[in-house]
Structures are given as structure tokens and as C-alpha cells.
């Protein structure tokens, strides 16, 4: 029996637009297992980003319960959420969101700084992480001196550096070309599998869903369909071997 690390119970998020109420997330109940790679797939406006924001505590649900690691996210105040994110959660954004004043190494160090890891240890861990994403020779470059793919590598290193239980990725490959997309996905999946981390990826890109254990289709704030991915790949190399087309059909 796999351990359920995230539990969503009847969550709802309603936005008011003038007099009109719009349910961006409408009564969704979902569970995510430890070590599971899960894709939230949907068109824009389907509520997939809102759902991610709710699970990660960036937004409060109008109704429902969100339990991560036995803790009620929806009941936490901002400081508790900050502490919670420090310990259990990593984030990867579409637009990388690195701090321009800091070098690649310092960007990766940042979560450890907030977590009060001693200076020497955090530098070692950050360097190790940069090595894992293949950027150790760019450690002292500023984000502006790195390509998009390299910036996303730094961002991935930052998300994984504190060894979080759950990593959220919001359109992580949205700004990247196809080749780089596969490279990034390979990297993220490899890192997540290594430490049995749960990963929730929001995307509108079907190709990415090939990496997922489970693909959740969202439409109009509801779960439309959930598919277990039997032919899950862990690297784009398998994709070429099996022929991407077959894989896509099954998905």
C-alpha cells in the first residue's frame, strides 16, 4: 500500500468577478502517493494552475481540506506556511524566477539560507546539487549570463537542494525548446526518483505526461479523467526506442 502524502478533500476555489462567481476549482478530491510523478494536464483556464497554487499553499481554498504530510495546509498562517515550504516543498517555475543579483550557486543556496543551514554545509550541498544538474562550471555566473535551459537547471537545483518531500513544477518547460524540454524532464525525473520524491507537474504539453505515473485531466475546474500510465518512461532515451507515437496513443 503506497503512502498517501497529499490528500485533497472536496476543495473548491471561487473567485468573484463583479457579481459573478467563478469556480476555478470545483469540488476536487485527490490523493497523491509518496514518490509518485503526477501530471496535471489541461487547457488554459482549466484550473490546473489554481489547483497547484492551492496544494502548495500559495492560495487558500474557499472550501475543503488539503493535507500534506499529515498537516492541514489550509489552516496554516503565512509564517507556518513559510516554515512548511522550507522543509517539505520545492518549486520550479515556468519563468525560472532566479534572483538576478545572486550567482547560480547563491540562488541554489537561498532555500538553505532561509532554513538556517550553516554556511559551510550549505555551500557544499548547493555545489553538489549544481553538479547533479551539470552546471558546476557555471556556479559563479549570474542568471543573466546563462541560457534559458541553464537557468531552469539552476531553478531545478534550487527546488531539490533541501531534499523536499514534494516538488511542484508549474509549466517547467513552457519557455524551452523541445530538445531542452526532454533534457529538463529527464533531469527532474531522475532527481525525484532518486530520493522517492513526489512530483506534481502542471502542463499543457502532452509529451511531458509520458514521464508521469498518473495523468490527471482537468476541465472547467473539475477532474475530467485520471489515467494510470503503465508505460511510464524515466528518460527520453526510452521514448526514442519505443517510438513516441505508441506511447502517446496509450496515454
Amino acid at each position: 500500500m503506497p503512502e498517501e502524502i497529499i490528500k485533497l478533500k472536496n476543495i473548491r476555489k471561487i473567485y468573484r468577478m463583479g457579481d459573478e462567481k467563478i469556480a476555478a476549482v470545483n469540488n476536487i478530491s485527490l490523493n497523491f502517493n509518496k514518490g509518485e510523478i503526477c501530471c496535471l494536464l489541461g487547457t488554459s483556464g482549466s484550473g490546473k494552475s489554481t489547483l497547484l497554487n492551492l496544494i502548495s499553499g500559495l492560495e487558500k481554498p474557499t472550501k475543503g481540506e488539503i493535507i500534506i504530510h499529515n498537516k492541514h495546509i489550509e489552516r496554516m498562517n503565512e509564517d507556518q506556511l513559510a516554515k512548511f515550504r522550507q522543509k517539505y516543498i520545492g518549486f520550479i517555475f515556468q519563468s525560472y524566477n532566479l534572483l538576478g543579483t545572486l550567482t547560480a550557486l547563491e540562488n541554489v543556496t537561498l532555500p538553505l539560507i532561509f532554513n538556517k543551514v550553516p554556511s559551510k554545509e550549505r555551500k557544499e550541498r548547493a555545489l553538489e546539487m549544481l553538479k547533479a544538474v551539470g552546471l558546476e562550471d557555471r556556479a559563479n555566473h549570474k542568471p543573466s549570463e546563462l541560457s534559458g535551459g541553464q537557468q531552469q537547471r539552476v531553478s531545478i537545483a534550487r527546488a531539490f537542494v533541501n531534499n523536499p518531500q514534494v516538488v511542484f513544477a508549474d509549466e517547467p518547460t513552457g519557455n524551452l525548446d523541445t530538445k531542452t524540454t526532454y533534457l529538463m524532464m529527464d533531469l527532474m525525473i531522475r532527481l525525484a526518483e532518486k530520493n522517492k520524491q513526489t512530483m506534481i507537474i502542471v502542463t499543457h504539453d502532452l509529451e511531458i505526461s509520458a514521464y508521469a505515473d498518473r495523468v490527471i485531466y482537468l476541465t472547467d475546474g473539475r477532474v475530467e479523467n485520471i489515467k494510470e500510465n503503465k508505460n511510464k518512461i524515466t528518460s527520453s532515451a526510452e521514448l526514442v526506442k519505443d517510438g513516441g507515437v505508441t506511447n502517446e496513443k496509450e496515454a
Binding site: 500559495l58 509564517d79 524566477n97 534572483l99 532555500p111 539560507i113 538556517k116 554556511s119 534550487r158
Partner: protein
């Protein structure tokens, strides 16, 4: 987030916007420097007063008088300076030494020549403590007998009593005498040496040990041990009684005095000691009292000067707030990202407060240095214009206080922007493209 990380990150953020940081710091520099200069002018003024007054005598000395008999306001009509009272004055905390003060009018004799002197009798061991300054010789010391310290002008006022009955101030009967080598006598007989003098009254040999500085003391006043003056006065009274059968009551009961002087060890305690003695029903006087009155008047001026400086620092504080608010607009996204990856509310707040405090600290430090240089220049200009003492005085506490003050101003100015940064929603912050 540790303080060290906080500070290094804050400095880095400020460094990124060098010009803006520099301009904001410049505002604080000018504000702090003007406060430092203004306050130092005020302190310089007070120091100047102190110097002026201390030339007139010691600031530590209090003079105590028995109340004037007609003074109905005096709360203690039977306040008497007797041995018991003097003992209780000596026991007031802070009092170093107390001496009764006795006056006498005597003639100083040098062979054929005489001069009129007023003599103050004090405990010889108290002389140094009372702040008498000498031009030559030594002060009276414990164990001195018929020894005397002359007033500065006394030696210049000798005359021949057979020719005139007093010293003429036009100098027409001036006699040159040698203080160091001549032998002197003193006598209560005002007619001594005159043709009709009572030859039975002999003077007493007196040893001149020193001469007082003309600055800050009565030029015709000599100092001698209290007990010697007391016995001379007693002889004088006895002689008077023999000739005139009435007592003028000037020499009061033995062991009571009209005046007492005392020294307080620490300047800070002078006013308290003085108040205590006033409560005992005596009239008191000290240079400290005059100094306090002078400083009270200068306080108003200092307040105005300080306010001018404070206004410029206020403007600088608004500059800090403005800079920080702008910085938050620019860094909205950055703040959002930091929140998402685990910065707590207090981390964000402290980061911005640290930046504001650093601007204040830097401005305060540079401002103190600038103020220091400015006041040195003012002093040099002042001395060239004929000022005897420094116009500005900057004590070390002022430097430390101004840096501290500027830092606190920075923190206060940064408080509102920091709260604003703290309250930014992480989600809307990272959405800002």
C-alpha cells in the same frame, strides 16, 4: 535566516543600486553632520562658560553663609554655623572638605613700612581644595602656624605710616619691598607705626609662603590659618574692650562662624549638596549655580540649533522611506520568489529593515566624520577671528550617539516599507511579469 546572511544580502542589494543608495546616504550624511555640528556648538558654548567661570575659582566650591537676620523668607532663623552644623555639613555625601571662613582686617608690617590687608582665615589643609591659584611659593598646609599667602597686589601697596596714613592709589608714596627676603609682622593695631601709635602693641612675626594669582581672587586678600587669625582677633577684641567698654558683638560666640566654604569632590554633586545645605536654612553660593543659570539660558539656543539639524535628518528619513518603497516596487517579484522558496514574513521584514538601517548607519558614520571635520574648521576660523576657546566641542559620546541615532532613524524610516514588503502576497508577486 541568520543575521550575517541578512546583512550581507542587504549590502549586496544596496550595492546593486549604487547611485541611488549613495544619494540616499548623502541625505543622511548631511542630516547627521548638521546635528553633530549644531550640538557641538551648543556644547562648545557651555564649555566656554565653564572655562570662564573656573578662572574665577573652583566650580566645586560652595560658600555657605548664615542667613541675613532680616530675611523673613528664611525657613530657619536659628541656623547657626557652629561646630555641630559644620560637622553635619561635612557628613553630606559628596562633600570632600569643609572649613570655616573668618575675616580679619590687619596691618602687614615690613620694617618701617606697612600696608592694610584683609585676611581670610581657613583651615590650612583646605586651601588647595578651595581652588586658590598661586603665582609663586606654596599654599598653606596642614600644620602651618603663623604662615600666610599674600594677595597678588599686597606687596605693591606698602607705604610709610609716618608720612601718610594710607596707601595712595596714584602711587606717589609707593615703596618697593622684597617679599622673598624681607621679614614681616602682622598686627591688629591699625595705627601701627604712626607717630601716635601705642608702642605696647607688638606685631607678630609672620612667614610669607606664597603669593596668590591675581586672576580670580581679591588682590588685597591674604590667606592664613584659621586658628592664628582667631587668636589675633581675640587679642584685638580684648584690647578694644579695655579701651572702649562696650562689645560690638562682631565677634560672635566662640566656635560659631559667619561663613563656611566646602569642596564637593564630583561636579555632578555640587547642586545636590548645595540644595541640601539650603534646606538647612543657610544662604549658599557657588560658581556652579551661576554656571547652571548661564547654561539654562543657552539651552534654548541649543534647542533651536538642534531642531534645525533634526529637520534635515527628518528630510533624510523621508528619503530613506522613498528609496525603500521604490526598491519594493522593483523587487516585488524577488520578494514573491523568496517567500515561495521559504522566506518567513520576518525574514522579508528584517531584510528591508536591515537595508534601511544600513543606509542610516552608513550615513550616520560618514555624517559624524563630516561633522567632526566641519567643527574643526569652525574652530580654526573662530580662533583666527579672535575666539579664545573652541567654538565647537565634540565629545566621543556625541559621535556614538549620532551614529546610533541615524541608524535608528533608518530603521524607523524603513519600517513602513518593510511591512509593505512583508504583506505582499507571494502569488501576486511572482505573477508580476
Amino acid at each position: 535566516m541568520s543575521s550575517f546572511d541578512m546583512i550581507s544580502m542587504a549590502i549586496r542589494n544596496l550595492w546593486k543600486r549604487k547611485l541611488r543608495t549613495f544619494l540616499t546616504v548623502l541625505g543622511v550624511v548631511i542630516g547627521t553632520a548638521s546635528i553633530v555640528v549644531m550640538i557641538s556648538v551648543g556644547i562648545g558654548m557651555n564649555e566656554g562658560y565653564k572655562e570662564q567661570l573656573s578662572q574665577m575659582g573652583s566650580l566645586n566650591v560652595i560658600t555657605v553663609n548664615t542667613p541675613w537676620e532680616g530675611d523673613t523668607n528664611s525657613n530657619n532663623q536659628n541656623a547657626v554655623l557652629d561646630t555641630k552644623t559644620i560637622e553635619s555639613i561635612r557628613n553630606i555625601p559628596g562633600v570632600e572638605i569643609v572649613t570655616p571662613v573668618l575675616d580679619g582686617w590687619l596691618k602687614l608690617v615690613d620694617g618701617r613700612y606697612v600696608t592694610d590687608i584683609s585676611v581670610t582665615g581657613i583651615l590650612p589643609e583646605a586651601m588647595d581644595a578651595l581652588g586658590y591659584k598661586l603665582v609663586s611659593g606654596r599654599s598653606l598646609q596642614e600644620g602651618d602656624g603663623l604662615d600666610m599667602v599674600l594677595g597678588a597686589e599686597v606687596a605693591n601697596n606698602f607705604y610709610n605710616p609716618k608720612q601718610s596714613w594710607q596707601y595712595r592709589y596714584d602711587g606717589s608714596n609707593k615703596i618697593e619691598i622684597n617679599v622673598e627676603e624681607d621679614r614681616f609682622k602682622i598686627t591688629y593695631d591699625q595705627a601701627y607705626g604712626q607717630n601716635d601709635a601705642d608702642k605696647s602693641i607688638k606685631g607678630k612675626n609672620v612667614n610669607i609662603v606664597g603669593v596668590l594669582d591675581p586672576m580670580g581672587s581679591d588682590s588685597w586678600n591674604c590667606i592664613m590659618p584659621l586658628n592664628e587669625l582667631e587668636s589675633i582677633n581675640a587679642e584685638s577684641a580684648k584690647a578694644q574692650k579695655a579701651s572702649v567698654s562696650s562689645s560690638d558683638g562682631s565677634s560672635a560666640k566662640k566656635g560659631t562662624y559667619q561663613m563656611v566654604k566646602l569642596r564637593v569632590g564630583d561636579l555632578k554633586n555640587v547642586s545636590t549638596v548645595q540644595d541640601t545645605i539650603k534646606e538647612m536654612g543657610f544662604e549658599t553660593y557657588s560658581l556652579m549655580e551661576s554656571l547652571n543659570a548661564m547654561q539654562e539660558t543657552s539651552k534654548m539656543l541649543q534647542l533651536v540649533l538642534g531642531a534645525i539639524g533634526a529637520i534635515s535628518l527628518l528630510v533624510a528619513a523621508i528619503g530613506i522611506t522613498n528609496t525603500m518603497v521604490m526598491s519594493i516596487y522593483e523587487r516585488t517579484r524577488e520578494i514573491g520568489v523568496m517567500k515561495v522558496i521559504g522566506a518567513t514574513l520576518s525574514d522579508i521584514k528584517r531584510l528591508f529593515l536591515t537595508e534601511a538601517a544600513f543606509i542610516g548607519f552608513l550615513g550616520g558614520t560618514l555624517g559624524a566624520v563630516l561633522g567632526f571635520i566641519a567643527s574643526k574648521i569652525i574652530n580654526i576660523v573662530g580662533i583666527n577671528l579672535g575666539q579664545s576657546s573652541n567654538l565647537c566641542v565634540i565629545p566621543s559620546w556625541l559621535v556614538i550617539l549620532s551614529i546610533l541615532f541615524a541608524t535608528i532613524i533608518g530603521i524607523l524610516a524603513g519600517y513602513f516599507p518593510a511591512r509593505r514588503a512583508m504583506k505582499l502576497s507571494a502569488l501576486s508577486a511572482i505573477r508580476t511579469e
